[in-house]
Symmetry: C2
Amino acid sequence: MINGVGRDIPDEIKGYGKVRHYKGAFEYVPTGNRYGPVKKFIKPGEDKIMTLRNVIKKYVKDGMTISFHHAFRNGDVLVNRVLDICSDLGIKNLRLFPSALFPCHEPVIEHIKNGVVTRIEGSMNGPVGEAVSHGILPYPAVLRSHGNRYRTVEAGEVHIDVAFIAAPTSDEYGNANGIYGPTPCGPLIYSKVDSLYADKVIVVTNNLVDYPAFPMTIKQTDVDHVVVEDNIGDPKGIVSGTLRITRSPRRLKIARTVVDVIRASGVLKDGFSFQAGAGGISLAVTKYLGEAMEEEDIVGSFGMGGSTRYLVDILKKGRLRCILEGQCFDEEAIKSLRENPNHVIVDPSFYANYNSRGNAVYKEDVAFLGATEIDTKFNVNVNTHSDGLLLHGIGGHQDVASGARICIITAPLLRDRIPVIVKDVTTVTTPGETVDVVVTDVGVAVNPRRKDLLEKLKAADIEVRDIKELQEEAYDIAGEPEKPETKDRIIAVIQYRDGSVIDVVKEVKE
Amino acid sequence: MINGVGRDIPDEIKGYGKVRHYKGAFEYVPTGNRYGPVKKFIKPGEDKIMTLRNVIKKYVKDGMTISFHHAFRNGDVLVNRVLDICSDLGIKNLRLFPSALFPCHEPVIEHIKNGVVTRIEGSMNGPVGEAVSHGILPYPAVLRSHGNRYRTVEAGEVHIDVAFIAAPTSDEYGNANGIYGPTPCGPLIYSKVDSLYADKVIVVTNNLVDYPAFPMTIKQTDVDHVVVEDNIGDPKGIVSGTLRITRSPRRLKIARTVVDVIRASGVLKDGFSFQAGAGGISLAVTKYLGEAMEEEDIVGSFGMGGSTRYLVDILKKGRLRCILEGQCFDEEAIKSLRENPNHVIVDPSFYANYNSRGNAVYKEDVAFLGATEIDTKFNVNVNTHSDGLLLHGIGGHQDVASGARICIITAPLLRDRIPVIVKDVTTVTTPGETVDVVVTDVGVAVNPRRKDLLEKLKAADIEVRDIKELQEEAYDIAGEPEKPETKDRIIAVIQYRDGSVIDVVKEVKE
């Protein structure tokens, strides 16, 4: 069937099942009830401490689903360690359900080859995604946004058998947080839904403290066992390459234009709210926005994390009432969570769960997000490269775009001499109907749906170009990009935030 | 059937249904799954603001269950206001599911007589309980502990159709808390389970603030509508008669003896934890305990609220690492919640939910609780008076007694010339197997199950008397109390914290 973004998706996908087709950003209306997790019980005095090996031996069986958070990002060690033990114990056919994988998870590829892991549902940033693009996984991978991962578990669409939660601080009853201890990683809040819904919840800590540990991001009521390990992850891995402000004059120009667009749109006033994020351009925008808020002497309401020191600076200067936090991208953000009561941890449901009575993203004036490709219908791809390789997760991209009153996509016209503005994106991650403005180094395009914005930008003397013109300019310089050569087999399903299928990724030819 | 505390309870109770009999404090092992609440949805831009009357008109239908919290205690106005509107709209047969009712809720009696309310499940302190004792309610009332109320909703044993949550501060999306605004009432955390499980969640506030309000004790994701009213409750009603330290020398002596018992038991050392509470004797014990901690130069781990300025003082002096808070009994406690990051709100599930992987009460060294009657089997009654009238709720009594390593019950031998230590309590609220020590003004009794404590108390030269001896002394002075004259009809069911039936209350004869 041709879905709401013009993609031809089969009604059933082998290894995935029946497809609910994407219709539109807010077309799906959820009905029925959420999943009711298992009732738990303990007698006073029962000891929850166990070794990781014994936990796995006792609870992880062939074919089960095991889950992890990604707060340590490229510093994570727990996924590999658990899979090594599973492999050692001869456990097979696991479904891996991490919130995200990073280059450090390259060893997962070996576990796929050995049959320990046969399914992955979660973001795959880097080598695992690349290997999956070449067809090594028996089942299609499933990619979901941050909000959709929460929605999916809550709705009972994925049942987690055993959740493993790397916790920089925990007491012996499993009250855990990620902001204290020798190796803090930020809020553990991506594991919140795992802790609420998994049959068995295992907190793995390198910092066992006296009862009660607080804040209780993960709670004793949900935690079955606590494991103490020497190493649960390296906070240095949190800061990756995408977490430095860009030095490219071309990209700094994009960032400045974004701030011009925000000013022109009339939202930069008291009560202003925005989505911050990582990526060189977004960091620069955050910095410039802070300066603009100073200049105009305004106090915004909230900045939504993932946060960095640039966002924290704005809070510190009193230019924001609060930061709502989902993940920390540097140490300064974690420090701020410890010290500033106006830096508030919120869970991915609060942030972006479609099946709820309201998200923080619905209250955002502005978001500025990146892209690997943008097409002339304003559809955005953040998952695959033009060669068809699946190299990135969705993150909160779909969630934020659908919610923010003004969703701005930033990208250079060309990247490594390959057009970024294209006729058709290789993969639709985020539907064009939720994208309002595209800012490139050679001009700004406004979605024709947003005549109001178009007028405001023109009134502010911002030159607005037709997005087709930008695409043509890109093709004039670099030529029309070749379509990736793919086989018929679907190796990944891209869900929209409401759980429908917005696109699929096919196996690339060698 | 004769249950685990020797009460003869029918296998089925008219208007209540099949009885699961109480067997023992930790005999019941929950199986199966929790209730899965309805999926919710909203589009960005949808306005949640409605009037109270329109909310009731739209959502409250005959036979439904409506719920409330009791954080304003005797200053609550919302229960009466909602019932008045329901009455006005001709709505009948409601089940009222408050966490507790107080004397201010006397108007509920009229609504029972008019058929607006036919069922009450919740604590009834004062006139409503008295009226129910005389048989005005068509269905038996059901009384539950704090932890059991949470367990019941989570398990799907009570389905809340519409939850009304009086909120001293809320934004227009329903993020609400009870610690800010002109009329703070403390944490709203007793409504947490209502907000998570009710079909419709209505926040009623007199202090609508800019988005986002935080802390988000109640969250936007769960809130269907926000109502703005001038008056949602009077914080002065929070402080009731039971919240002043006793001046009676007899009761102060009891308080001092409790501290002697705690010292003798060997737990008063670094890491010490205890349950605080209201009531004249408990307040005095809290104060004396704080002094003892100073004297011995120890730092405890946590004090569990409901808290008062006496508990807050201990925290302020650095003698406790934290307070875990469920409800505030005075303004100083609410102020502390605003100002002290070590004063931490926890929900009733964390505190005391039997169907969970662990409660704060299981980590308490000591609790000191009151009683209307204690019998020679150490069973405690906190619900009825010796005349059979149902005048008090359970509060956290069963929860705390079952969890704390040393559960001390404090009471004078006689109250208004009526024996408190009796052969058989009028109503069993808390089973004797969970009670360790009874401290009266004429001596201390230790449950024979606790030989360890008995030895420690003797070693510390605390005179320990047989509880039968205390009962006989009471009867010698005041005579054997007359049994209340009751009819056969059961007007209230007393559940144990695991949801089983521990006792019933019968209609009193006029």
